[in-house]
């Protein structure tokens, strides 16, 4: 009996049936997601239009929180710093992880060990990572600056002890942490590419770069879409690394939006302002997501 006939017997139209099947797939995950994540998230976004100390009654106060945070120089600065930090983190992390995945997808010796080593930064305790990179980027005797002096740069940057160089320093550390993680996603994506396509390309005479641009890159586009999305989200939300490495300093030179959100909620106990700042973060990321989705429809090859 065909599906269609079955549906008719039960008195359900194909569309309803399709809908029901779709919902049945989503449901198990959605129930949990809705209760434990979605409701709290919506609740906290509603808070952005109110003043709340976390305990007593919630008073709605319209757009006051938004007016307040946009008058706060720390927050306005944080938006730009976050954008700056995220832009370069996304570009460099994506490039690095793709290159690594392509390298480590080949038959080379000790491949598993190399992969494991490169994934390690993501697994390593952030405490250890922050300590080691603080030492590596130490302005006076750190290995990075020693090396820069060795190749003839007389005045190497002050890195984490300088307001101008702290963000580039953090970008380096973050790219280093990210590359192994996203390498895995690219590696998984590479496994999904049908080998016969390469064989066909071989017959057509496509080699090297041409092969990469014609087959690998387009077929990796779902992975790239995912990698870019996750990089944007993660770098806009970056918290623990900066919290441990610079506490947002020197001054407020590396205070990102998530730091601000945290400080408002847990130092100033102002959940309204904290939620308002989170709302702005949410809007920025949502906008970038929507833009990406548009792009996905156009470019993602499936």
């Amino acid at each position: 009996m065909s599906g269609k006939a079955k549906a008719k017997k039960k008195g359900l139209s194909l569309v309803v049936r399709q809908n029901l099947i779709g919902y049945s797939f989503i449901l198990p995950n959605f129930i949990g997601f809705f209760i434990f994540i979605f409701i709290p998230v919506i609740f906290s976004l509603v808070l952005s239009f109110s003043s709340w100390d976390g305990f007593n009654e919630i008073e709605f106060n319209g757009l006051n929180n938004f007016i307040d945070i946009f008058h706060d120089r720390v927050f306005v600065g944080a938006i730009w710093k976050t954008a700056y930090f995220s832009f370069f983190t996304v570009i460099f992390s994506m490039a690095a992880s793709l290159i690594l995945a392509l390298l480590l997808n080949q038959k080379i010796k000790a491949r598993g060990l190399f992969r494991c080593a490169l994934f390690f930064p993501y697994v390593a305790s952030v405490v250890a990572v922050s300590v080691v990179f603080n030492a590596m980027l130490q302005p006076d005797y750190g290995p990075v600056n020693e090396f820069l002096k060795f190749i003839g740069i007389a005045n190497p940057p002050g890195w984490l002890a300088s307001t101008d160089w702290v963000i580039p320093g953090l970008i380096i550390v973050n790219v280093w942490r990210n590359m192994g993680y996203f390498m895995i996603i690219y590696l998984a994506g590479l496994q999904n590419i049908d080998q016969s396509l390469y064989e066909a390309a071989e017959i057509d005479g496509a080699k090297g770069w041409a092969r990469f641009w014609k087959i690998t890159w387009p077929l990796l586009s779902p992975s790239t879409f995912f990698v870019v999305m996750m990089l944007i989200i993660n770098s806009f939300k970056v918290f623990d690394l900066i919290y441990l490495m610079t506490q947002g300093g020197p001054g407020t030179a590396s205070t990102m939006m998530s730091q601000y959100i945290y400080n408002q909620a847990f130092i100033s106990w102002d959940y309204g302002k904290s939620s308002a700042a989170a709302m702005i973060l949410f809007l920025i990321v949502a906008l970038l997501t929507a833009f990406q989705f548009k792009a996905e429809k156009k470019f993602v090859n499936y």
């Binding site: 919506i42 100390d53 603080n134 980027l137 130490q138 002890a161 300088s162 001054g251």
Partner: protein
């Protein structure tokens, strides 16, 4: 369509929150009928660093022994997240009967929300001698005694006797000004590279510069004018340039904790809180440090009497939503009273409840250096951060600006001006 959804959501959320508020307090701590008919009550008591603060266990077991009908459920939380967790517990309606406040300046934020019970009547009923407590009245907010001081700590000057002997410098006296200290550090500094001995040490906390500026009790970190801090920042930068203290950016970027350089014997004098004594004693007992150390009174600003120092007090209060307030008060009376004090002293810690014998018994604690009793005598203890609802936020801001001065990114005057502007913004709200 969309509007309807939003409306439904809003109603649902309000209902959920209302339910939460109603249900708050109906949780785990509770009472069990024992066979004899008397009820056993369990109180929830969140603490931090249980393992490294054995006096907490001493107090809890001592209390349970003398109060067989009350059990204490200790919830151990990591120090760095304690304040977060405590407020999530209080705000989220979880059980928590005794509110042990880690940073005293956070007290108003709980009190303003109405989360702390007014203890005035309890104290009167039981005839508590409030004069025996260090900064008891500081926790009287708007006429309500919201907490009772449990433990206190203040800054003293730790020094390494061997370095003084080697340099032929006399041990620091209990009456010394900050400029005398600065001079002394010059004489004690020697060597180069990794074997260098530093005469002094100022930790990276803003407190380790700004505390000396508020020591006279005339100004507080709330400012909003911060020019009074200038001499101390100048001193810190001067000492950094002369190499008598370690460089701020080195300390910061290499995560150096004040304890290590002192325990390794590379620092001659260290202004630090009294909490450091039990740590030193434990390290020496474990054979992990062989520093021959001493304690002197904290140096003081010119024109301020010797023995005036800066400190902080750790208080305990009762959750206003607790079902067992009377039992919680029994615990606070015990922990913050004479019994608790003797248990703190037995572990080398300084109680907030003090009488004539407190300093003597503390100085007699095994491993405490000679002359500790003299050195720990105070004429006044100024609170490092005033008990004010803006304190935490201002302190956060000061920490940010502090680093700009110490890494010499901006001139002192500019930063002090910036501090003042931001402080006004925070407190103006």
């Amino acid at each position: 369509m969309k509007k309807k959804f939003v409306k439904t959501m809003a109603v649902g959320l309000t209902a959920a929150m209302a339910a939460t508020t109603l249900l708050a307090g109906c949780g785990g701590s509770g009472s069990d009928k024992t066979e004899g008919g008397s009820e056993t009550v369990t109180l929830t008591f969140p603490v931090w660093d249980l393992a490294s603060n054995p006096y907490l266990d001493d107090i809890v077991s001592g209390f349970e022994e003398s109060h067989p009908d009350i059990k204490i459920n200790v919830v151990d939380v990591a120090a760095s997240e304690y304040t977060n967790k405590l407020s999530v517990m209080l705000n989220g309606g979880a059980d928590c009967d005794i509110v042990y406040i880690k940073d005293a300046d956070g007290t108003p934020s709980y009190a303003e929300k109405g989360q702390l019970e007014d203890l005035t009547e309890y104290a009167e009923k039981d005839g508590i001698d409030t004069s025996k407590y260090v900064s008891y009245d500081a926790f009287n907010l708007d006429g309500k005694q919201v907490a009772v001081p449990f433990k206190t700590d203040y800054y003293v000057l730790y020094y390494n006797k061997d370095i003084f002997d080697a340099a032929g410098v006399e041990y620091p006296s209990n009456d010394m000004t900050w400029s005398e200290w600065e001079e002394m550090c010059k004489k004690l500094t020697s060597g180069e590279g990794s074997s260098k001995i530093y005469g002094g040490y100022l930790h990276t906390w803003q407190a380790c510069v700004e505390n000396w500026a508020v020591q006279d009790g005339e100004n507080t970190i709330l400012g909003p004018d911060y020019s009074f801090m200038k001499p101390y920042y100048e001193m810190a930068l001067r000492m950094q340039d002369e190499g008598t203290i370690m460089d701020y950016s080195t300390l910061k970027t290499s995560n150096i904790n004040y304890a290590s350089p002192f325990q390794q014997g590379t620092v001659a004098t260290l202004p630090m809180g009294t909490w450091f004594s039990p740590v030193m004693i434990a390290k020496k007992a474990a054979g992990e440090s062989d520093v021959n150390w001493g304690i002197a009174t904290l140096p003081h600003p010119d024109g301020v009497p010797a023995g005036s120092t800066v400190g902080s007090t750790t208080p305990m209060g009762i959750n206003a939503n607790s079902k067992y307030k009377d039992q919680a008060w029994e615990f606070i009376k015990y922990a913050c009273g004479e019994e608790g004090a003797s248990k703190l002293i037995a572990r080398g810690q300084m109680p907030a409840y003090q009488d004539d014998t407190t300093m003597e018994s503390l100085a007699a604690y095994e491993g405490m250096p000679e002359g500790a009793a003299e050195a720990m005598k105070t004429t006044s203890i100024v609170l490092d951060r005033p008990i004010d609802s803006a304190s935490a936020e201002v302190n956060q801001m000061l920490g940010e600006e502090h680093s700009l001065i110490m890494i010499k990114e901006k001139p002192i005057d500019d930063v002090l001006k910036e501090m003042s502007d931001r402080s006004k913004e925070i407190q103006g709200e």
